[in-house]
Symmetry: C2
Subunit: 211 residues, 2 copies
């Protein structure tokens, strides 16, 4: 059985991927863990440990081949294939996500937006049509969608989850300010904006008490 990778490591993986992408853009072909360490503000031993979880990738005295490590990291992150998304909730946040071109570049393709608001339905954000939530269940049965982003108000979450549980959705990207519970065959990733702001506030308060 494979060793379980800790959440802290998983949280750092996208960062490695981002930095390696920047190195490629800057035509850097190889990099030592010491150089990568200085750039990323992580210790070199942390980097070696993190990457050893996946087999290493470095060569003693040579460092890392940037392009190779970038591609391997993409595979580890599942970015070597296309993911189809729908966004449920076509308000400002849902529209912001639909507009964000970085997702598509990494293979996350937004196929549809859903909302209850009749004023939105039928309109388009980029090329993506806003459809009625009433048609969501049917849409998910007919289309091969992996991920549902939820950007609806708190009170609307439960009814959306009922629809998703009854579909082939594999993962939920939740922006609603609640911790959602789903069967374990559906992956959940939360973006709790208020939690993030409270962490900022905590760190600010802590800092002010030390100076």
């Amino acid at each position: 059985m494979e060793q379980e990778i800790s959440k802290a490591v998983i949280r750092r993986l996208p960062r490695y991927y981002r930095y390696l992408g920047e190195l490629i853009d800057a035509d850097v072909e190889r990099i030592s863990s010491a150089e990568l360490s200085a750039k990323m503000n992580v210790t070199a031993s942390q980097i070696r440990q993190d990457l050893n979880n996946f087999g290493g990738f470095g060569q003693q005295g040579y460092g890392y081949n940037v392009k190779y490590l970038y591609n391997e990291m993409a595979k580890i992150l599942g970015l070597d294939r296309v993911h189809n998304l729908v966004i449920i909730g076509a308000g400002k946040l849902g529209q912001a996500i639909a507009n964000y071109s970085f997702f598509e570049k990494r293979g996350f393709i937004i196929r549809g937006l859903f909302d209850v608001n009749k004023d939105y339905i039928g309109r388009k954000i980029k090329d993506i049509e806003i459809m009625s939530v009433d048609t969501l269940s049917d849409y998910l049965k007919k289309n091969d969608i992996d991920i549902a982003a939820i950007t609806v108000p708190k009170d609307a979450v439960e009814s959306i989850l009922d629809i998703l549980v009854d579909s082939n959705i594999k993962a939920v990207w939740n922006f609603a300010p609640v911790d959602i519970e789903l069967p374990e065959n559906i992956i959940v990733e939360n973006v709790h904006l208020l939690d993030s702001l409270m962490q900022l506030s905590y760190n600010l308060t802590e800092y002010e008490q030390t100076v």
Copy 2:
């Protein structure tokens, strides 16, 4: 000297605060760590350990007084005072944040929105005026603003940071897809949406390899 609280604990604090708020809404007056544990899907010993970092708050055989713990948690998170914010970048994401009423309820008051786009400048989101980025430096000198949320494209980040470093801003809430570097007297909290989506993709890929 005070013991340093780990990032993992800090990440859980807003969640405690959210759950305690829900208990108050449901008129629950006290709760055992076992009950809180079942509700939050964290072990009871983890809860006790986390709260012991701040002095405990529980009474043997009685559990936690919900209202008291909620108020103490608010103080720990710095929510017992008002924070003034500006949002830099009045695109969809900036507008979504400006529209989100939960922030104001917790004392995070958005005072101004800034953008380079002439079509936006002068318009209002709720009561908040969109102003020109050219006036940002001056605005920050004349107003008591704690936090700047950055929702501009990657390429615009550097010039914004130059302005912020030269102001009295205490914290930056960064949504741009870069790791920003600032003097250590400015707290940084990042919301990297693409990183979050890549973590989801990692977990999805992992899960599919185990079934």
